[in-house]
């Protein structure tokens, strides 16, 4: 009898040990599945989930998760690829438009000199204006598509924002005067330095000022405070709260304003964000307020 008891006991101990090991292995496998799934998503990786335990149920979970994650990742890739393709197409189209447009302008010049009567000349002048507008549009579209699809980082260096802003304002002095806008400028005495790119920064200012010239009702406030926050403010009766929220959207224009592509501010936003800055638009009491801010950070890597 005792022999049978001992045998039973031994068998039970072996059974319990087996179960214990099995549970440990399954727990380990589940833990591994979780970490592998996380990694797979984070890295957008093709690697399938594997488990050290060959338990059929766990293997089924692993296989299911692998196929599902794969299809999610594939959808994501297709999306980015499609996006990239469109950007490239826009770039190519705007590039290819340049040659025929220039050619058309050239012929128009010849046409003007070929002894037209008054009425014909009038039409040619209109045509010329339209072609110039078209040229501007394609240029801006090209700039936008280049900026949007560019993956390289902009080289950042310590730049004085005061100088850059003053320079941009100076260039716009004439345009502002033409529109009868008397800008009110207050630039902080203290020189503000930030890690940005001077050329890009002045492009941002130009785009914002361009926008102001086009839509202002006759005033413009520019303010650079000591903390480095830059505010552009102008009355803009054509805008309202809803349209201000869309201001940075691609191809958004207030009305079918001539020569406006609705890309200027989008470009400004993309460039600002590439230089780790923040740009925002607000609306209060009929005034449009565009705030630009570059945080004062240590030297970037």
């Amino acid at each position: 009898m005792t022999v049978i008891y001992i045998l039973l006991l031994v068998l039970m101990v072996i059974f319990v040990l087996f179960l214990f090991l099995k549970i440990c292995l399954m727990k380990l496998s589940l833990r591994k599945l979780l970490s592998q799934a996380k990694e797979k998503i984070q890295n957008d990786s093709n690697i399938p989930l594997t488990s050290p335990s060959h338990d059929q149920d766990i293997l089924r979970i692993a296989a299911f998760l692998t196929t599902e994650l794969d299809s999610v990742l594939r959808a994501g890739r297709q999306y980015t690829e499609g996006n990239q393709k469109i950007k490239r197409a826009v770039m190519n189209v705007s590039h290819d438009l340049r040659t025929p447009l220039t050619s058309a302008a050239g012929y128009l010049g010849l046409l003007q000199k070929s002894g037209l009567n008054e009425r014909q000349l009038e039409y040619v002048r209109i045509l010329e204006g339209r072609i110039r507008a078209m040229k501007n549009l394609t240029e801006e579209l090209l700039t936008f598509s280049v900026v949007a699809s560019e993956e390289e980082n902009i080289p950042l260096e310590r730049t004085c924002i005061n100088d850059c802003l003053e320079e941009s304002l100076m260039q716009f002095y004439l345009a502002l005067n033409e529109r009868g806008i008397e800008p009110k400028i207050s630039i902080s005495e203290k020189r503000v330095y930030r890690y940005t790119n001077r050329e890009t920064l002045s492009r941002i200012f130009d785009n914002i000022l361009n926008n102001a010239v086009r839509y202002s009702d006759g005033d413009l406030f520019v303010d650079l405070c000591e903390e480095g926050k830059i505010v552009f403010k102008n009355t803009a009766s054509k805008l309202d709260e809803v349209s201000v929220a869309k201001l940075f959207d691609r191809f958004f224009t207030v009305e079918n304003a001539r020569g406006a592509t609705g890309l200027g501010l989008s470009i400004a936003k993309i460039l600002t964000e590439k230089m780790n800055g923040v740009i925002s638009a607000g609306w209060c009491n009929g005034q449009l307020e565009i705030c630009l801010y570059f945080p004062d950070q240590a030297e970037p890597k």
Binding site: N43, N46, I47, P48, T102, S103, A105
Partner: protein, 305 residues
């Protein structure tokens, strides 16, 4: 876009011979990187270094953002598949057995993986045939299948089309393009013939005597090898009229306000006269004519002087 592989001044000495000399290459996600160099230029050695088969002498590299001294490097190596020199397969086993062994190494338990991969490379009908009886092309494809069983994100192929017939080359090229497109696998592929890669690669690295001479995108290479005449003038406004009317020429492109590129044949002397007559000042004429091999030989020749 993130980098799959970056090397920083990677160097390898064999005794006193410098086989790889400060190679700094960058491969981004989703690219097909053509690694071009003559035989013995150091292509294979660079690949061995990256795969961890041999020890570097100095420099460092990063795989999927993990440096080579990082303890987690072995974990990211799981995302790589490679064929170095010859396909690494056991000649006395069948294709299925070879793949099954690699499945064990990778911990893959899904029984569908092996037939799927075999079908992908077109070897589904080999049955019980041992690898030693395979043709070169079949062996090469089995090698690719071996690197694919783990569904890698990055595959490294050392001269995969070497010694194949033209038909085989086309097949492998199609296969690689499909992998890159469908599974967005980044590919590093080496060859000593630039032309072989020209329909495949999106980016090139040229290596000679262990030094990486140049990294260039396919678009830039095509630009560099396109036969063209580049002219600089004071204004391109009426340039198009002149070209179209006087020379009935349409193969040109206006690049900026002062530059244009002409792709068709054009007599330079007449062009200069016609431009002068139209009141356009011609500043510079730059003629470019090079084919792919010429470009490569120029580059290599320049380096060996």
């Amino acid at each position: 876009m993130e980098h799959v592989l970056q090397t920083y001044g990677l160097t390898k000495f064999y005794k006193r011979n410098c086989v790889v000399d400060h190679v700094s290459m960058n491969i981004r996600r989703g690219e097909i990187y053509g690694f071009v160099g003559r035989n013995g230029a150091g292509k294979t050695t660079v690949m061995r270094l990256i795969c961890g088969l041999i020890q570097k002498s100095s420099g460092s590299y990063e795989l999927f953002g993990k440096r080579d001294d990082d303890a987690r490097l072995d974990a990211v190596r799981r995302r790589i598949g490679a064929i170095i020199e010859t396909p690494s397969v056991y000649p006395d086993m069948t294709a299925v057995q070879n793949l099954r062994e690699q499945c064990f190494v990778l911990g893959i338990t899904d029984p569908n993986v092996v037939p799927e991969v075999l079908e992908y490379v077109g070897l589904q009908d080999t049955g019980k045939k041992r690898v030693r009886n395979f043709s070169l092309g079949m062996r090469q494809r089995l090698g690719i299948a071996m690197s694919l069983v783990g569904s890698p994100d990055f595959i490294i192929l050392d001269e995969p089309v070497n010694g194949l017939d033209p038909q085989g080359i086309v097949e492998i090229r199609e296969l690689l393009l499909r992998l890159n497109r469908e599974k967005s696998i980044t590919i590093l592929i080496s060859s000593h013939i630039l032309g072989e890669l020209s329909k495949l690669a999106t980016c090139y690295g040229f290596i000679e005597k262990g030094r990486l001479l140049k990294e260039i995108t396919a678009a830039e290479l095509e630009e560099a090898c396109r036969k063209s005449i580049r002219i600089q003038v004071n204004t391109t406004d009426s340039l198009a009229c002149v070209l179209e009317r006087e020379f009935s020429l349409f193969g040109f492109k206006i690049i900026s306000e002062h530059e244009a590129e002409i792709y068709d044949e054009i007599p330079i002397g007449k062009l200069a006269l016609a431009l002068h007559a139209a009141g356009i000042e011609l500043y510079r004429v730059l003629e470019k004519e090079e084919n792919l091999e010429g470009y490569f030989l120029n580059l290599v020749g320049g380096a060996s002087q």
